[in-house]
């Protein structure tokens, strides 16, 4: 059975139904929910088929598509992409559930969500670089429309900013991919976009470094790394809840995933060469994102800046080149998706009730809505790395692994965790604790639909926090292989007298 094809394209099956004229909004939401849940179930099937302890790609599908330019339909899953896919299929139904509060153009809204899901899944599973780029680009427009149509006040500005930033990034990525193709045509006689064949492509140190930079810019915008992060606070803040959840939990991961898969995988020597440079940018992001988050008065913006800090941690772990740090980074991609996704959901639910996101205006809400406050608190505690919850495992591995390779960056990574404790707990205290203002007295606590929405997220967060082994067992073989490649390339440099 073609598990991967089924996973990627199942979401699109919902679209013909959504095109039925006069379809009631409620039915549209239910169709989208059904399709995304079905996709989740299929991805569970994929998960079961996945053999742990095996490095390299599994369940590979390879069919010619457009041979003229080396475009083949190639899908495959390994330890890195496995959990990205699982995260996507888990978060999407949740994101659809949040859309119950959207009342305008519901059909188009859920249709965009299904498009986005298919494109993200395709991005994570493509083994053909051109196909990867195709999905990577395909994401842009539905995401920009989601922000621009259903967002809040400055939505159009945020949507255009998001669109143009990522488009500039992908411009460099595209040129990099095309140059890589031309290189393969020179060396192999026939050009290829196949990731597995390009991995073995011999190239000079200089070409490798240039290509690394091209790919790096493309992904750094998506991650986003300092100083390319400025689109993120706007996009996250202006997007509707579903948009923020999808942006934070999934879309940013296409950037970090790209760094792990393509930058480390294709250019190990250049990765080693630029590691310090990238780590410095990531470290700035960690500290800067954390400090700016502390200063925020808007709860949603606070969560947005916390993303910059957390993503910096993931990148610093990726470029530490120790097995623990890379494994931790990959796990942390999943963790950030869950906890930040839940934070955005919490903020979204709060906003629906109070129509404000200003921390100073909230205050004491916990007394009226204890369950809602509880959800936010669990998400915050997870996000700041409380033991027993998911982030602890990932952050711990990243910090330990980074510390082994560089004390300075290890300490800076740890600073990020301290900062996250400050801004998250402080925001909880200001927004939820204290006396209840008179006008919030009448608001309702979370309803049944919202329980349905947060329970799976929280369950998985505890699952990873308490039983990380099944997750780590599947990630490790792949990440260990990647680290070995980079180390081998780095030590080859040392032998030839190149500076590391």
């Amino acid at each position: 059975m073609r598990w991967l094809t089924l996973t990627v394209f199942l979401p699109l099956l919902g679209i013909p139904f959504l095109l039925i004229p006069e379809l009631p909004d409620r039915a549209a939401r239910l169709i989208a929910l059904g399709v995304t849940i079905a996709t989740f179930l299929v991805s569970v099937g994929m998960f079961v088929k996945f053999q742990k302890g095996v490095p390299g790609f599994q369940l590979v599908e390879d069919v010619p598509w457009f041979e003229g330019v080396g475009l083949r339909y190639t899908l495959g899953v390994d330890g890195v992409s496995l959990f990205m896919v699982m995260l996507t299929t888990l978060v999407m139904p949740v994101a659809i559930l949040t859309s119950w509060s959207v009342t305008e153009k519901v059909k188009m809204y859920v249709m965009m969500a299904l498009f986005i899901e298919a494109a993200i899944l395709g991005t994570f599973l493509s083994l053909n670089l051109l196909m990867f780029f195709l999905f990577f680009e395909l994401l842009l427009l539905p995401m920009a429309l989601t922000i621009g149509i259903w967002g809040s006040k400055r939505r159009v500005y945020a949507a255009i900013k998001f669109f143009l930033f990522t488009l500039v990034g992908s411009a460099f990525l595209l040129v990099g991919i095309l140059v890589l193709f031309a290189q393969s045509a020179d060396v192999l006689g026939q050009g290829t976009f196949d990731f597995r064949r390009l991995q073995e492509l011999p190239m000079t140190v200089e070409v490798g470094r240039w290509l690394f930079m091209a790919f790096f810019i493309g992904f750094a915008v998506k991650v986003p790394l300092f100083p390319l992060h400025t689109w993120l606070p706007d996009a996250h803040t202006e997007a509707p809840t579903k948009g923020s959840v999808v942006l934070a939990a999934l879309l940013l991961k296409t950037g970090t995933y790209g760094l792990v898969r393509f930058n480390l995988g294709l250019f190990p020597e250049a990765s080693d060469h630029f590691a310090v440079f990238v780590s410095i940018l990531a470290a700035i992001g960690i500290v800067y994102g954390g400090i700016v988050a502390i200063m925020q008065t808007d709860l949603k913006r606070l969560v947005a800046y916390s993303s910059i800090s957390h993503l910096g941690l993931i990148v610093i772990g990726t470029f530490a080149f120790t097995e623990q740090a890379l494994t931790g980074s990959v796990l942390q991609m999943v963790n950030h998706g869950l906890s930040t996704g839940l934070l955005f959901i919490g903020v979204g639910m709060l906003y629906e009730r109070t129509h404000t996101r200003e921390i100073s205006e909230l205050g004491g809400i916990a007394k009226v809505t204890p369950w809602l406050a509880g959800v936010y608190l669990v998400a915050a505690l997870s996000s700041l790395g409380l033991p027993g919850l998911n982030n602890f495992i990932g952050e711990f591995l990243v910090i330990v692994g980074t510390f082994i390779s560089s004390h300075v960056f290890g300490v800076l990574a740890a600073v990020g965790v301290v900062l996250s404790a400050i801004y998250l707990l402080w925001s909880y205290q200001r927004a939820f604790q204290g006396d209840v203002p008179e006008r919030w007295k009448g608001i309702k606590d979370i309803n049944r639909r919202e329980v349905l929405l947060v329970v799976p997220m929280i369950a998985v967060m505890f699952l990873i926090g308490l039983f990380p082994k099944p997750f780590l067992d599947r990630i490790e073989p792949t990440t260990n292989g990647i680290v070995r490649e980079v180390e081998a390339a780095g030590s080859a440099d040392l032998q030839t007298g190149e500076a590391p």
């Binding site: 040129v175 095309l178 031309a182």
Partner: protein, 477 residues
Amino acid sequence: MKTQNLLAIAPELFLVLAGIAIILIDSIFKGVKREWLAILAGVGIVTSAVATVTLWNWDGGQTALQGMVATDRLAVVGRLIILGVALIGVLLGYDYFKGEERGEFYALLLFATTGMTLLVSSADLLMVFLGLEILSLALYVLCGFTLRLGSGEASLKYFLLGAFSSAVFLYGLAMTYGATGTTKISGIALVLTGQTKVSSLALVAIGLLGAGFAFKVSAVPFHMWTPDVYQGAPTAVTSFMSAATKVAAFIALIRVLDVAFQPLTWNWVPVVQILAVVTMIVGALLSIVQKDVKRLLAYSSVTNAGFILVGISAGPEGIMPVLFYLVSYAAMVIGAFAVVMVVSGRDRERSSIEGFAGLGRRAPLLGALMTVFLVSLTGIPLTAGFLAKILVFGSAVSVGQWPLVLLAVLASVIAAFAYLRVIVRMYMRDPEPDAEVPRLSPVAAVAIWIPAVVTLLFGIFPALIAPILEQASVLRW
């Protein structure tokens, strides 16, 4: 004259016959239903296309009529693209000139088409010139086809600048003859290969011929006429000429550069590259400040000319990508202009971007179709525009021109902003209170659906057309 020679130009003969028949019928039988004239034009185009297809397996010589008309597959494919565009042009014209007795529209459109098909199949510079003139004369008239002031201005502007560019081209032709003693495209190549030194006369000739072509494809700095003419001309005419002229002129340019002046490749490639960079950057920058969709699309056609020039600069490697680009470009631009035609309405020719506000809500289908075309122009995947860009840029990278491609990709990001502005208007702004719902007639609907399907079909299954273009891109001489 052998009948084989007639077969080689049968497509043109059918077009001309249909055109003459339309003029005669229109003037002899007063008050003939214009449906019949449109159908007659359609029949002419379809028979011409059938005649073209039979030329695919031509087993005569490489040229016919004493080396005037090429019989290769490039000519076949070029003609088919143009005929397809012309067919949609007939439909659009039928819809646009509703309630008016304008029979000569169809005749002029067929004559313009004849000029274009001659252009793509010319094996002699004289034929290139003839083709250019035939298509230009018909288009001058078509541009001024309505009584609006803008239309007349467009026509006059196009005529004056066009006549000037024809003169430049003719001068280049004379220079070529001086340098090589022949005007045959293959003959020029033979003579130039034989020369040990690069003749400066031949270089001047390339420059002048290139300027003539640059005018027709609206490459900067010969693009000045484009926005005014595209805006002023009746939208049905704009959509036809923007798509078809570019296809015809670029295919002729491929013949001239990659065959006739192939021995001087090292000399013309840098010039084409510079032209490409200037064209795409100026086009993209100017397109983002436009307030009128027709002008925006006009500058977009300038930008796209730049992208196609990137492919041309890759030499023979770039022919197939350029052909793919031309097919996709023709589809998306004629579709986009057709939507503009329906939205702006016949009487007012109101095509400001503001007029598109809330189109996604007023007319969801029309909005969605426009989005397809704009998305394809932007180069988003699953549309033909994406693969066209990948192919063209890939061919340039494969000959080592990655800096050029980087500039091209960045230019397309700038241009994307312009298209995005229209999409934003359509979906993120509320319609003006007095905005009316555009009415889409069945004929116009067909004329918009066909390019939309082509755009998506070739974007998802490029293998449907790629082998044909691959065979057409082999130049034999």
